[in-house]
Symmetry: C2
Subunit: 414 residues, 2 copies
């Protein structure tokens, strides 16, 4: 299975992978623009824009968009991250062209109406409220702010009630004309797909959109620090982070392996020490999430409030120990986990189409699974310990939500 | 792709489906026992038992269990529902026998230690705390209690701090000997799987476990009623439920189609009326969840507290309208959604192995996708309206979590 890739004269890229044995397909339009491309005044615009594309186009009402894709049992979905925005379609194989046509229509011919915008702001305010009510969502937003304070990449993707207020239809149109340009977009499909047919369709739909260079954003600046949101809750939800390598950094996979050995599964040190040995938490994990020019090694645990300080101290100890004493056996295991996880993710249509799109936006090419596996295999105990140690030299960020979380935060690094 | 099924002399069943084009496999041991088989004193035992199987066996420590499966990049996982308990393994194809061997070891030779049990109770107390902190988890537990008050099927799967206290190692051993018997268990695998090899392995591991008839549980008795948990939160999280058909009822698919048209996607009536037309909620949906002898048609929405009464009244109106006026076009769309969703779920190894196991436990055979699709296709506007109307004649259940949710609950059916 080798993906086929075609770039149109205007720079718009199309990728697809034909997968044997499947009757369905997935497609995504991946845009190299997200919350980190916003100014402070625009906070929430990338995500609000993504919502507003579903409110209607020159030829389709919002209801028709919903009905037309669901009439064939398909679905359209979208999500906004700090770095990217993705419009995703999932259909039976025969209906893939419909999903492509509809995604193109959303992006090429949106109809921004002021009344629709006010109603959709109310929906996003509810979404913000739900995130606020979910401590393990909220705590990661607080953490992101401590990692990158007063920067676009540190602000919440959903925006705030205050920042949403000033956004209007002109903001939406300007966002589209600035960022939804050929050089910023990749259409990627996987499943039962015919590449030539997909390219012909994409040419007709995207062949004449404006050329551009990729959207730029302010370089991230890691700061660190701590914050606590006091709340009456059963558990203390706490996170700790250090700066890690970005997506294309040479030690990216070493950092991934470190995070896996630290808290990637039930054999990981954090799971064994905090949950199995001590019974301090049900949820405890670590991961490394890359941005285009920075990365976040983060730990999460939910503990009884009275155990929070103990759990935090123990987690920091485990972190330092892992960087100092990670073993050959642990590295072998982390490699097996990352490699198998990769293969499993790429077996699904959506996993494949997401990877094709992301890889083309981040690396300007589709990195083959074999190459990623070779990079994982090349890591050594020394390189992974070094990646861990390097991350631990950065300024830590801490966030907590729970009873007296403010007090816990104040002495987090005391 | 036709699944192969083998039943051992003791009644233990093995099912597998070889899927082309995949390099991995999934396997589940499905046990016909869950929280609804508990007495009031045992509440939480099915789930605690599932946790405790990971604490060690005669030949493996807890750490070795974690390390051995993750050494090959695989994972073991488990979940407990009201009706079932599933132990699930996901591996590269070559490691499937290891996952099967380990799952058998967990179930056949667990080592229950009192100290481990105390630590694991602390972990489950944290899990209960996390569920309590997550309003959209809590509200469904409250709803389940109103549907089936003072019955095992209505109690929380995790148990309560009080009910966990009395559970000891003897409770765990008794649970195992009562329920983990041949007639109660199905081993199901999908992906790159060799059925004959799987059967030989299962014979060796499960061929001598005790014969039994399936575990029985108290028949469910739908009651209805309302409850509100007052909490300081941004959104009011509210649910409404009616009794629907059980898994094997003749109008099961009619109820599924009704729930889909009502709140199964973005073209559904609830999504269009509450979110698109009125901006009252971000999350709004409906679904029908079957038990073995009852079912729950439930609606969920998270709204601004001041809009909660309006949203509830509107949702009830939409419900009644859907039962009265569901159209041919809506039915066609709901059919397409259910059928495509089914095909997509069955394309993944885990989706397939889950379905094989569940189908054998619920129907005593693997119901082919074509048969389910034929049942979906056979539904008519009349049969789906009738299924909706029948559900609406049952006593409604209501639960809410949010500011003054107690007051909202008190007048929910006023």
């Amino acid at each position: 299975m080798i993906p086929e890739i075609t770039t149109l004269p205007n720079g718009f890229t199309i990728a697809s992978l034909a997968m044997p044995g499947v009757e369905t397909a997935a497609v995504g339009l991946n845009a190299n623009v997200g919350a980190r491309h916003e100014t402070a005044e625009q906070n929430g615009l990338a995500h609000l824009f993504e919502h507003m594309l579903f409110k209607g186009t020159a030829s389709r009402t919002a209801r028709r968009i919903a009905e037309e894709i669901e009439d064939v049992g398909g679905s359209l979905n979208a999500w906004t991250s700090r770095d990217m925005t993705v419009f995703h379609g999932r259909t039976l194989a025969a209906d893939l062209p419909l999903a492509v046509d509809m995604i193109a229509d959303l992006v090429n011919a949106p109809r921004f109406d002021a009344d629709d915008l006010e109603r959709e702001k109310a929906v996003v305010l509810s979404e913000i409220g739900e995130a606020f009510d979910t401590p393990d969502d909220l705590v990661f937003d607080l953490l992101q702010d401590r990692c990158y304070p007063e920067q676009a990449i540190g602000r919440p993707i959903l925006g705030t009630p205050a920042s949403l207020e000033s956004l209007d239809c002109a903001s939406l149109s300007h966002w589209r004309s600035s960022h939804y340009r050929a050089g910023n977009l990749v259409l990627a499909a996987a499943g039962r797909v015919d590449h030539d047919r997909l390219v012909r369709q994409a040419e007709a739909l995207f062949g004449s959109i404006a050329v551009s260079t990729p959207s730029a954003s302010e370089a991230s600046r890691w700061v660190g620090g701590s914050i606590g949101e006091a709340r009456k809750s059963e558990q203390m939800h706490l996170t700790l982070a250090y700066e890690g390598p970005h997506s294309r950094a040479p030690d990216y996979y070493a950092a991934q392996l470190f995070a896996t050995a630290l808290g990637g599964g039930m054999s990981s040190r954090l799971f064994q020490e905090l949950r199995e040995e001590r019974g301090l938490a049900y949820s405890v994990s670590a991961s490394h999430s890359p941005h285009s020019d920075s990365g976040i090694l983060s730990l999460y645990a939910a503990t009884r409030p009275k155990d929070a300080a103990t759990a935090l101290a123990l987690a920091r100890d485990v972190l330092a120990q892992t960087a100092a004493t990670l073993s050959e056996a642990e590295l072998r295991r982390a490699k097996a986990q990352l490699k198998a996880g990769l293969l499993m993710a790429l077996e699904g249509c959506s996993g494949q189409s997401d990877w094709l799109g992301r890889s083309l936006l981040v690396f300007d090419r589709v990195v083959p699974a074999a190459e990623m596996i070779a990079e994982i295999d090349a890591a050594t105990v020394e390189s992974v310990r070094a990646a861990g140690a390097a991350m631990l030299t950065t300024a830590p960020a801490f966030a907590a939500v729970g009873p007296k979380a403010d007090a816990l935060s104040a002495r987090a690094f005391a």
